[in-house]
């Protein structure tokens, strides 16, 4: 337990100390909220869908979590290159604990980031549908964070340097975000796009956030929770396996 805690603490301390990173990574969500939210607002309204910013905000919260989580997971590549990973790998601690501590720490940072973006969207003009359901939103933020931090860590276990990083961003992170229903409603999509959105893990996170923040849901909250729990568990198991195989 104490070993998981100390690894968690380390990740959180690193996050809190990199203030420029925290602030820097707020730029993108704010830009999306303002440019897309207000830019597409009038068209969205004319299409009879109501306010676009109300629709967009949960998706942008999910986006900021996605990015922070994946980066936190992949931060392990730095640790490998700068040797610190070795220090944890020779310690008499089951590797699964090390992996768990890292993932929990990275996920905590991602949840923080999600909460900050939520507060910013409220300032910009987003309305919370029910304060009671905010706890539900928190649950979804935690699930999204855990899943993508674990995914990032699993990917980083297989990479020894940043050569493949751009590939991951362009072929995994970006599609996962753009095709998740974060930017557009999933109802009435062409079948191909609908299919992709259905197998996109983030879709369920975004949907859960939509439900708990605005009261609308595509899949239903039960499905969202179940899917996220199952895939998070699966990626944690796979990640632990890959992590235990790391050789330096």
């Amino acid at each position: 337990m104490s070993t998981i805690y100390i690894l968690w603490l380390r990740q959180v301390k690193r996050y809190l100390r990199s203030r420029s990173r925290i602030i820097g990574s707020l730029g993108q969500p704010i830009l999306f909220l303002v440019a897309l939210g207000f830019g597409f607002g009038p068209i969205y309204q004319r299409a009879g869908q109501g306010s676009y910013i109300e629709f967009l905000a949960p998706g942008i919260i999910a986006m900021s979590i996605l990015f922070t989580a994946i980066f936190s997971g992949m931060e392990m590549i730095w640790d490998r290159q700068f040797g610190f990973l070795k220090e944890t790998l020779v310690a008499p601690v089951p590797r699964i604990n090390i992996m768990l501590g890292r993932v929990l720490g990275g996920a905590t940072a991602a949840v923080f980031q999600g909460i900050i973006v939520m507060i910013i969207s409220i300032i910009i003009g987003f309305h919370i549908y029910s304060f009671l359901l905010l706890f539900g939103s928190l649950l979804f933020m935690i699930l999204i964070s855990l899943f993508f931090t674990a995914l990032g860590t699993a990917i980083a276990s297989m990479l020894s340097d940043f050569q493949g990083f751009q590939l991951i961003i362009n072929f995994i992170v970006m599609p996962v975000f753009f095709l998740s229903g974060a930017l557009f409603p999933l109802k009435g999509l062409p079948p191909a796009l609908n299919f992709i959105a259905t197998i996109d893990p983030l879709s369920y996170g975004v949907d859960g956030l939509h439900y708990t923040l605005t009261g609308n849901s595509h899949f239903g909250m039960g499905i969202d929770v179940i899917v996220l729990c199952v895939i998070t568990f699966a990626v944690l198991v796979t990640g632990s396996y890959l992590f235990s195989k790391i050789e330096v």
């Binding site: 610190f84 220090e87 008499p92």
Partner: protein, 262 residues
């Protein structure tokens, strides 16, 4: 304490460690010498569970590291050749992190951290981030950290690289003490032959993946009929300078610095 039989490690078609066997007794200080790229670090990585051997057997304190990784990991401490500190943590936090990972009892934890940090004269800087430390200070901290949990075996992979003679002496005094009082087995590599001569009970010389000579420093000198261990070493391994394959690390450092503000 350490028993190695017919150990082989191949990377693709390159054989880094080529069928070596040796024993290290309990409470022995064992020097593992060789030119760059001879296979020293690869051997240490295999002994410390960071690499899996291609073939051959290893026993650490009677345990097979392949079968019981965690048990073996609990029995040794290591000071790595290249840095392994967390730059974004303070010196004290790095020590604390290590103490928790190695389950140093809470009661002795704070006391021992203070003692060791005073020993390497970093106590005044305990709350500074490690990234602001000079190379020598990092090295000292790393050494202090390696001694924190009083292991049965300690691996020192070129521990004194870049240290001034004062600190080097200091460190060896500590190692000798630990060796005397707690019967700690010491396995070290170094390029300073005089250091090996002075401290090692026994030495093995590895070159191109093979152990080419072993014995006490005196025996090696006798065997080659040389005055100093350095001459004996050169006699055994030849004068040609070895090339070591460059790592991607330098590239990474430039990349990281590009991202930094200062």
């Amino acid at each position: 304490m350490i028993k190695v039989t017919n150990l082989i490690k191949k990377f693709d078609d390159f054989t880094a460690v080529d069928n070596i066997s040796f024993n290290v007794e309990k409470a022995e200080i064992f020097g593992f010498l060789g030119p760059n790229g001879a296979g020293k670090s690869t051997t240490i990585k295999m002994l410390t569970t960071l690499l899996h051997p291609t073939s051959g057997e290893i026993e650490i304190d009677g345990i097979n590291p392949r079968l019981h990784q965690d048990k073996v990991r609990a029995s040794f401490g290591i000071v790595f050749q290249d840095p392994s500190l967390d730059d974004e943590l303070t010196a004290y936090e790095n020590m604390q992190f290590h103490a928790v990972l190695y389950k140093v009892p809470k009661l002795v934890r704070a006391k021992r951290i203070e003692e060791l940090m005073k020993y390497v004269e970093l106590w005044e800087k305990k709350n500074e981030l490690v990234k602001n430390f000079s190379g020598g200070m990092k090295r000292r901290l790393e050494i202090a950290r390696g001694f924190l949990h009083h292991p049965k075996i300690i691996f020192l992979d070129e521990p004194t690289l870049g240290l001034d003679p004062q600190t080097r002496n200091y460190m060896w005094k500590y190692v000798q003490n630990l060796n005397n009082q707690e019967q700690t087995t010491v396995f070290f590599t170094t390029h300073y032959m005089e250091e090996a001569d002075r401290n090692a009970d026994r030495i093995a010389i590895i070159d191109r993946g093979k152990i080419i000579a072993s014995g006490t420093p005196e025996q090696l000198k006798e065997q080659t009929k040389k005055e100093s261990l350095e001459d004996a070493f050169l006699e055994l391994t030849g004068h040609a300078i070895r090339e070591e394959e460059a790592s991607g690390l330098d590239k990474m450092r430039t990349m990281r610095n590009a991202w930094r503000r200062k």
